[in-house]
């Protein structure tokens, strides 16, 4: 009996193993089937073009973008020695420096005053988030008028108080700042909405006990609101940084990179190099620079975020 039972047992486990294996494969297939649409599209429109951009950045191409001459790192050397591209990088970093803190500080202020329980507060919240629903193209049209040299409101107000008119979009000293001002306005809606969400998730109880302890408004702001909001702030800063580096629409609408290339931000520079000058190789090298900048920002976010954010 025993002698027979052992092989029989063995056979059974083998069978069990086989069915388990089959189930495993079946589950794998099922999982892949659910993921297939996303994986296929990511491959075509994200992974392949990323590899292709890296590849193209080592070549010179003809007018249609077919690589012709392998040049190694020459495209990179050329763009980093080109005063135009260096100027573009400088403008981009300045633009980030103007717009990110600007939008976040204003939105934070708006979110704090809109977080109070007052009658009609919903109306103000809607107003403050409204710029999120206004497209870059439409917002640029609005600001184009405000910046208009003679009819625009900004110069009208200046002349009213007796200050000389400013060439908001035509003066190389002002253009980048003007584009930044309009960009801050465009970004307030989204930033405000996220920050308000963060404020509302702070436990009311914290404020109530602070009130009992007699803590003042600004003390509570500094000691409760800002620390509790830090994960949200951190997220908003990252998103704002990434968005700022990707800016294109308002440049195309308002200045086309001018005057004197002062507003030739990175993405506009890529667009111009590739689709106006047909220099796909150097343009790809610029695109890789953009990719690396964004990669570094996200990696920093992941690293710091791990430490700061509490997961529930």
């Amino acid at each position: 009996m025993n002698q027979l039972a052992i092989p029989h047992d063995h056979l059974e486990t083998l069978e069990l193993k086989n069915t388990l294996k089959k189930q495993k494969i079946l589950r794998w297939l099922k999982g892949m089937l659910f993921l297939a649409p996303s994986i296929i599209l990511f491959s075509i429109f994200l992974f392949y073009p990323l590899a292709r951009s890296i590849y193209l950045s080592f070549f010179l191409t003809n007018n249609t973008g077919v690589p012709t001459v392998f040049v190694g790192f020459e495209n990179y050397i050329n763009i980093f020695t080109s005063p135009i591209f260096r100027n573009s990088l400088q403008s981009t970093f300045l633009f980030v420096l103007y717009t990110v803190p600007g939008a976040i500080i204003i939105s934070l202020f708006l979110a704090i005053i809109a977080n109070e329980k007052l009658k009609g507060i919903g109306f103000f919240r809607t107003m403050f988030s409204s710029t999120m629903g206004i497209s870059v193209a439409a917002a640029s049209v609005f600001w184009m008028f405000l910046f208009h040299p003679t009819m625009g409101w900004l110069n009208q107000i200046l002349s009213y108080v007796g200050v000389d008119a400013i060439g908001w979009l035509t003066d190389p000293k002002w253009a980048l700042l003007s584009v930044s001002i309009s960009t801050i306005w465009m970004n307030i809606g989204f930033t405000f909405l996220i920050l308000l969400g963060g404020l509302q998730s702070i436990d009311r109880y914290l404020y109530e006990s602070a009130d009992i302890d007699g803590a003042g408004y600004f003390y509570q702001l500094r000691r409760i609101t800002l620390p509790m909001l830090s994960p949200t702030l951190f997220f908003v800063i990252t998103v704002a940084l990434i968005n700022a580096f990707q800016t294109f629409g308002q440049i195309d609408m308002l200045t086309r990179g001018g005057p004197q290339n002062q507003t030739n931000l990175l993405v506009y520079s890529i667009y111009r190099e590739a689709f106006m000058n047909y220099q796909y190789g150097p343009a790809s090298a610029q695109a890789i620079v953009l990719f690396i900048i964004i990669l570094i920002i996200t990696l920093i976010q992941f690293k710091l975020g791990e430490r700061k954010v509490h997961y529930q």
């Binding site: 599209l41 429109f45 809607t126 999120m132 609005f142 009819m151 996220i194 994960p231 529930q312």
Partner: protein, 272 residues
């Protein structure tokens, strides 16, 4: 707890002044869209008489209706595509255990590090080689796969009790049926949030439609607005503003209706 009157007054003042400043560019544009050229030239704030002439002109001179139709088609296609693909992927990440799942999830997260703007050259060439320049598929399909949406829905699906899935398996319910009849209805709110977000961002898309369209037949409203602005050099600001107002109305309505949900949904995605 009641607020002191002084604090209330200060808060309302701050709110009103901020709202005025922030909404001023939109109000000015709205007001200008009803003005005659003369009103605009003389720097009026409120139109002397409300005229719809500008709206009449903008529709007459520009194929604005066609642009709006194109934008609707593209935005709805992207919205539906994103919802379908993100929910399918999120389902696999939550309910199906298989080898390599974690690696794939990491790969999905990693796609968030790649800016679309850095890929425009090869993507343009792909679309061109497929013959998709000036087509709805060329404008929409590149945006169907979406890591953020997958991530958001995964967080949401995770809240569905595992016991429900086990019970459905015992009852002999397949994965597709469970996904369609249990998971999707339960996650309705998140799907709506994601849909609103997808529609808003697609409607406002600028760079890709600029590259992927060359003739008016498939142009979207944003590029139409660019055209309007660059062609109307005759200082017909009223007409341009009328065009801009028409372009922002659908998204503003959507935002006003869905603001609360959007805010909760996005905050959730941000923090988890």
């Amino acid at each position: 707890m009641t607020m002191s009157l002084r604090r209330k007054v200060i808060l309302y003042c701050l709110l009103v002044v901020s709202a005025l400043f922030l909404f001023a560019p939109t109000i000015i544009a709205f007001s200008m869209s009803f003005m005659t050229n003369q009103d605009i030239m003389t720097g009026k704030i409120i139109p002397t008489s409300i005229s719809f002439e500008n709206y009449f002109h903008v529709f007459q001179r520009f194929p604005l209706l066609k642009y709006m139709f194109n934008s609707f088609v593209v935005s709805i296609a992207i919205m539906l595509g994103q919802l379908a693909l993100a929910s399918l992927a999120a389902y696999a990440f939550v309910f199906i255990e298989f080898k390599g799942r974690d690696v794939l999830f990491f790969l999905f997260i990693a796609t968030m590090m790649v800016p679309f703007e850095a890929l425009i050259i090869p993507n343009f060439q792909t679309i061109r080689d497929l013959g998709w320049i000036d087509s709805y598929q060329g404008l929409s399909i590149p945006f169907f796969a979406m890591a953020f949406g997958t991530f958001l829905l995964r967080q949401n699906f995770k809240q569905i009790p595992k016991e429900l899935k086990e019970a459905s398996e015992i009852a002999g319910m397949g994965d597709l049926k469970f996904y369609l009849t249990v998971v999707l209805p339960v996650a309705r709110t998140s799907l709506v949030t994601l849909g609103v977000y997808g529609f808003l961002t697609s409607w406002n898309m600028y760079l890709w439609p600029l590259l992927a369209t060359t003739d008016n037949e498939y142009r979207t409203v944003q590029i139409g607005l660019r055209q309007l602005q660059s062609q109307e050099q005759l200082n017909e600001w009223g007409v341009i503003m009328a065009g801009a107002i028409i372009v922002v109305i659908p998204t503003l309505i959507l935002l006003f209706v869905g603001q609360k949900k959007l805010q909760q949904g996005l905050a959730e995605g941000a923090l988890k």
